[in-house]
């Protein structure tokens, strides 16, 4: 039986129309996003921190799941592009009254939305929205369930490229709750596409999903083995709110086995960088001495994140789909 071949996030010219997942993005497109972000880094350091690329366009931050950091950086990115930004905490409003997801989208589209930045607890929700909206409307996935967090992966790529240059020779370890992490899935897709061959996923068997090997990842259950000679260490938040019961006995035992301490980090290369998508649980997945130490690039990640999100918003906004005349 047939399977869709063209990714629903690309337009007929192969350009970025929506950003739903990293998985189907070709490498040149990812590189174009990173290069576009380069140009926006400077905007943030100027006295006037905006460019008029999205003047008159409406960006709706549609968060069906709570988030402060991601929503704020998207808001800053859209404002620096001179867009009109509307933040909707949908979790607390319409869906609580029983309105369906697509009804909410229809209502907001009637308010002349141009771009939806969507976070949703269900994997695939942004695909449903992207299939539903008019051709001139764009959808950017700001995190869906356990599936994808593509702008986080792009900013992680940006950060790695900034500190390490080429991707191909790198050894990268992703440590923690891979099972429940959309960041891990998007990072794995992104790093594989960019040519990283030594990619390890580190965690207890309860936090490693089936079939990781088919995603081009080496599975390690011991932290030291996973960190050995790594150039890049990506720590994942231990998402307590996502835990469904019996996956781990305690945060303390987890920290003893998988917490990134200065001692554990000695197994990695001396010039390694340590990343974390935030927010961190100090003393659970990462020791403060590492989080604030010389290897940490956690705060630069946040700054790069704004430029990367500016790049994504400006690129999808400039995509023309066939028949995409505004009503």
């Amino acid at each position: 039986m047939q399977v869709l071949t063209r990714s629903p996030q690309l337009n007929s010219d192969g350009g970025l129309h929506h950003l739903l997942s990293i998985a189907e993005l070709p490498r040149p497109l990812i590189e174009r996003i990173l290069t576009t972000a380069d140009g926006f880094i400077a905007v943030g350091t100027r006295e006037v921190k905006s460019v008029p690329l999205l003047r008159g366009r409406s960006v709706f931050n549609l968060f069906f799941e709570n988030s402060t950091r991601t929503r704020t950086t998207f808001e800053i990115a859209a404002k620096r592009l001179s867009a009109d930004v509307y933040n909707l905490n949908v979790a607390a409003s319409s869906t609580a009254k029983g309105e369906s997801l697509l009804d909410t989208i229809d209502n907001l589209t009637a308010m002349q939305a141009d771009i939806f930045v969507v976070r949703h607890a269900q994997g695939g929700a942004p695909y449903l929205i992207a299939r539903h909206v008019a051709p001139h409307v764009h959808v950017v996935n700001a995190g869906d369930g356990r599936h994808a967090h593509p702008t986080q992966a792009l900013l992680d790529l940006y950060t790695i490229r900034h500190y390490k240059g080429a991707f191909e020779p790198l050894s990268v370890a992703i440590v923690g709750d891979i099972l429940n992490s959309r960041v891990a899935r998007s990072d794995i897709d992104a790093l594989r596409t960019m040519g990283v061959t030594d990619l390890r996923a580190v965690g207890p068997l309860t936090l490693l999903p089936a079939g990781l090997e088919t995603m081009g990842v080496r599975v390690c259950t011991r932290l030291e083995e996973g960190l050995r000679d790594a150039d890049v260490v990506i720590m994942l938040r231990l998402q307590n709110e996502r835990m469904r019961g019996a996956l781990l006995p305690s945060a303390a035992e987890y920290f003893r086995n998988y917490g990134l301490t200065p001692q554990a980090l000695r197994h990695a290369r001396p010039d390694c960088i340590v990343m974390h998508p935030g927010p961190m649980n100090r003393g659970v997945e990462i020791d403060s001495a590492v989080a604030d130490g010389p290897h940490s690039v956690i705060l630069p990640q946040v700054s790069f994140g704004i430029a990367v999100r500016m790049a994504v918003l400006s690129m999808v906004a400039s995509s023309q789909q066939e028949g995409a005349q505004r009503a």
Binding site: M1, V3, G124, Y127, G145, R182, P209, G211
Partner: protein, 426 residues
């Protein structure tokens, strides 16, 4: 209505006897009068010319939901769907609202079914009161009002003590029990078959052990209770192997699979297509291969539609929130033909999986063409191709994992009790 009718010039296929030959059929008083030359003096009131068409027993579906009681008024549309799909007999699982656990509900359902003049309806009674898995349902009384078997529909009850007693009680009256091999505690919040696709999409996964642990439990309890058990809708290679071993051991067990699982795998979910949200979940290509092999070697007895109409409001949702199920009565026959074609299964054998075999499991004297048998028949064009348009379904559910696909094989006439109840517009 005691119409006399002849179906002439057709290719008659009867899986029960192995017949596959050009042949005429004479029908009188709702039953088959003769195959081949009609009795002297037979002057039919109507003659159906089946030149170029196949005449076969009407399909018998081991799982088709009418959504009544619950969605009152739905039954008529679902019965139209059944007839349009060539289905002349269908077993209705008790997962209605309320569940079919008392005689009044069963009588009402049968009454509505008679009024709808659709396919024959075989109610499946609840094994436990309210399907709650706590107390036994009145199985003997339910059997007297027409329930043909007793089910626990979603999963095995958490309380295995109750299940064991229910099996013993059913054995007392030699009532068959139909079970879904699902251990709910191992399903958890899973929505997709465990494997690379679920991992990639981040969908909570349903492991194969949810099926195999349940099968081990069922067979172990069956060894002590002795009940006849039908296993509903297997999904995994390991599950097929366990059923094969149980049959070899001599346990009185039969099993079916849904036609969707005969064709689809988890990769068909693609970009979160909620039309592929099914229960049991779609699994790997290896699992599908094992299901096909199981059907070929007789481990699996029958194929059912697992028809489950779902409203668009319940389907147009993120994959994990969408209600499981598909409208499947109207695509059952062409999907059986497609399987026969792809796997080089002779048509007479392939049709057996949706006629003679399920009728045998139901204990009904339908599903075969022989003088004296009920004249439940389907006449179909094996060459006609058409495109699946769920919005045009007779069913109240307008979704299908096969939407937009081309099917070969279209029903022309459906007869129940010698009466033409469906006739395709030509």
């Amino acid at each position: 209505m005691s119409l006399t009718l002849a179906i002439v010039n057709g290719r008659v296929i009867d899986p029960a006897s192995g017949l596959d030959a050009p042949c005429d059929i004479a029908i009188a008083d709702g039953r088959i009068l003769a195959l081949g030359a009609p009795p002297a003096g037979f002057a039919p009131q109507r003659v159906v010319d089946a030149r170029g068409l196949v005449v076969a027993p009407g399909l018998v579906d081991l799982c088709a939901r009418m959504r009544e009681p619950g969605a009152e008024g739905a039954l008529r549309g679902e019965m139209r769907a059944a007839l349009a799909g060539g289905v002349t007999g269908l077993a209705c699982p008790p997962d209605t609202d309320p569940p079919l656990d008392e005689p009044g509900l069963v009588r009402m359902l049968r009454q509505r079914s008679r009024e709808a003049a659709g396919a024959r309806l075989y109610p499946l009674g609840a094994l436990t009161a309210g399907l709650a898995g706590q107390a036994l349902a009145e199985m003997h009384t339910l059997a007297q009002v027409g329930c043909v078997a007793f089910c626990q529909t979603a999963a095995l009850p958490a309380n295995l003590g109750t299940l064991l007693q229910a099996l013993r009680y059913a054995s007392t009256f030699d009532l068959p029990v139909w079970l879904r091999p699902v251990d709910a505690s191992l399903v958890g919040d899973g929505v997709a078959g465990d494997g690379p696709l679920a991992s990639r999409l981040g969908l909570p996964a349903i492991p194969v052990v949810a099926e195999t642990v349940a099968l081990h439990t069922i067979f172990e309890l069956q060894r002590t209770a002795g009940t006849r058990i039908h296993i509903c809708r297997l999904s995994s290679a390991e599950g097929v192997a366990l059923v094969r071993a149980a049959k070899r051991e001599g346990l009185p067990v039969t099993a079916d699979v849904s036609v969707q699982h005969l064709h689809l795998v988890d990769e068909n979910i693609g970009y979160y297509d909620s039309n592929c949200r099914l229960d049991p979940p779609l699994r790997s290509a290896q699992d599908r291969a094992a299901i096909r092999a199981g059907l070929a070697d007789g481990t699996l007895d029958a194929v059912c539609s697992d028809h489950a109409p779902v409203s668009q409001e319940d389907k147009l949702l993120p994959f994990g929130e969408a209600r499981a199920g598909a409208s499947a009565l109207e695509t059952l026959l062409p999907l059986i033909l497609a399987w026969a074609q792809a796997q080089a299964v002779p048509l007479v054998r392939a049709l057996g999986a949706v006629t003679a075999a399920p009728a045998r499991i139901l204990g009904e004297d339908t599903g075969m063409l022989a003088p004296g048998r009920k004249a439940d028949l389907v006449v179909f064009d094996p060459q006609a191709s058409w495109t699946v348009q769920p919005e045009a379904f007779h069913s109240s559910g307008h979704n299908s994992p096969f939407a937009g696909q081309t099917m070969t094989g279209r029903v022309r006439y459906t007869l129940v009790g010698g009466e033409v109840r469906f006739e395709a517009a030509t």
